[in-house]
Amino acid sequence: MDRFVRRALPTSVAIGTGILVLLGYLFPHTVLASVRDELIHWGVIIAAFAFILGFFNLLRVHLARARTSGGIYSLFLILAALASLGLTLAALLLPPLRFWGDWWFRSIIAPLQATVMGLVAFVLAVAAVRLLRHRRQWEALVFLVAVLVVLMGTLPLPLPFSGWLEELRHWWIQVPAMAGMRGLLIGVGLGALVVGLRILVGADRPYTD
């Protein structure tokens, strides 16, 4: 019974649902299309509930970590998460409190996220400066040259140098970069196809433990 609940039942549901959605795309019949759309709608609802479960799991993990030494950051995370949840719910339920919800977003969340992104840019800049200091290889040299070319092509050019650098940038993006991106897209497509088929036949069961 336990094996049936843990393995057989989720696998049957996943395979059956996948086949129904696939049939809805392959045969544009009215009934099949409606079943497909309904299952997709269910999928969105289930994803929303999964997000709620993830939120509470995050709280549980950091509650356990907050009791240990050095758990002050987990405590801050729990407080910030609860404050965001409370202010958002208050803004939705009580319109007069909407101001505080917007203020929380504009004054706390947005600056913090922008700062973290700026730190990422700073770290990348430092890493670029010290690139050849740790990896003196021809691959690193090629990578460094590519970074410089794309960088100089992306940034606004001073007017005296905008001619040949712009042509070099355009060639670089249209030929090597696009070739690499096409290869990546083909690989992503094939990978998605294979993963979908494996889940459809039950070879991969990411929904079971």
């Binding site: 947005a110 922008a114 740790h134 040299l141 992306t154 712009e166 991106m181």
Partner: protein
Amino acid sequence: MIYCPKCGTVNRQGSRFCNECGAPLPATGIRCPACGATNPAGNVYCDRCHTRLVPAEPPPQEERPAERPSPIRGISLPSISPTREAAEIPEWLAELSPAAPTAPEAPTQAEIPEWLAELSPTAPTAPEAPTQAEIPEWLAELSPAAPPGGPSKPEVPPIFPVAPEPIQPLEKPASSAEEIPEWLKDLEPSPLPSEGLSVPVPPVMAEATSAPSPPPPAVVPPLILEETEIPAPSEAEIPDWLREAEKEPAAPPIEAGGLVPAEIPEWLRALQPRAEMPAEVEPVETEGFLAGLRGLLPVARGLDKVSTAGPSLPVAPSPAAVARAELLQSLLSRPLVLPHAEAREAVRREGWMLTRLLVGLVLLVAIVAPMLVQWRLFGPPLIPTADNLFALVEGIAPQTPVLVAWEYGPAEAEEMDRVAGPLMDHLLRRQARLVIVSTRMEGPATAEALLTSRLADTQERLRRVANLGYIPGQATGVREAIGNLDGRTEWGSGAPAEQIEAMAGVQSVADVGMVVILAAQPEDLRVWVEQVSATRPDVPIVAGISARAEPLMGPYLAAGQIQGALSGLTGGAAYEQRLDTGRGREYEYYLNSLGLALWAVAALTVLGALISLLGGRKR
């Protein structure tokens, strides 16, 4: 089959222990005294080591053939059982053999073995022959029968060391001398050169044989003579080892009462039946599941005794020894730090800090400097895709619903707001109705923040914009949003989407005139392009993306799936320049800061690479 005496289980023949209860089974086979292997009953030789299991039985006296002659007493010769000899003697040879010996005389004492009784009258060293009870059974079986005629001098079984004796000269059988063929006569041994030649026999040569004494010459078969007769060696032919053995002291005489156990060689002791071994050699287990088994665990004497003596130092350590021990302990407890490694680590730390400080300072100056001095360092780039996008938006009819995928958050807002801003301004200028969805949680709030700055009037915003909020499920959510737009609620007011004026006539993506993708992540761009182009390929798709996602946009742009796009701050600046909404100064500042920072990073990267190439590699 062997029945277990404890539980009655039937066990396989030859089993030593019961398969059911583990009890030792009675031995039904013959246990080899040499290797301990159990042999089936009836085996004469051990299957494993080929040791003889059954002592050689002498043939009956009346049927006993002539004993094998032993010209040199005590020397081991190939043993052939008498019955086998008789069977192997060909018929023609049997005819040549002398008549069977006469039966020996009856023993005078019933308790004395026959062979020993015959020896007793003339044995000078054995005044009293051992009785039958004093001689072990296995030894009695090994004891040879007395020759028919009886020895002429005292005999001892040759299995024991005997004193050197003079070699008995071989006598030619007189009765059959004429019947021996010529070829056999040639094989006859020559008479010994001297009768008194004495060949000492070492004790080690006194191997157990069934020929204790030389038989009468008349009963020696010629064929046996051929095998056993050894001419007496001359003095020069005697090997050294034999001479040394001759010098060894003679074996002690056999005392009254029989054999001397101490003189039995080791190999002969091994042949003794195990029943005669002392019981204490192999103790019997008395406890546990091994109870009743013998000889499983070796005896460790003294282990069961508890020593009462406690550990004690012979002498107290001297103060000098204590001081040395404390010094050693302090040295061992001190962390091992190599001076060169410590210095190298300090230099590395200083270099790392210096690099970070330098980069941070340069970036700070590059970002803040355009605020202080309002220079125009960089002109807006020429981006053809932005021109295509501008033309597409310009062709939208008023009140056309436009689906906007708002796929960026506050982290990317500083860049993406500069991209999405002019595009939204242009759409609002064209009186388009904006239907906004997002698969990122921060997307609706970010959109609301930007649109609030463009449409301050709430009523006007509700007429022009429908923010349908966050749709979970990523790719599934995109598919859901494309097919079900009117079933949602407005993010700000919570009103149903179908009651919002901006959503009039819009149920799915098929009802919109354009799809605008505002994506900071390449993955979001890919999902939206693939889902929308697969569902409604007739709906034009345009994109405003970050500089990071620009490489991924190339294939879609070249394939025509994206018909117009602008990327990054430079694209936004180019679009703003075309649109001219009055925010040019803002873009000029951003362009200067971005341009200076990027140029500074490029210069630092080149500088760092040159320093690394010209300098030594840091390990």
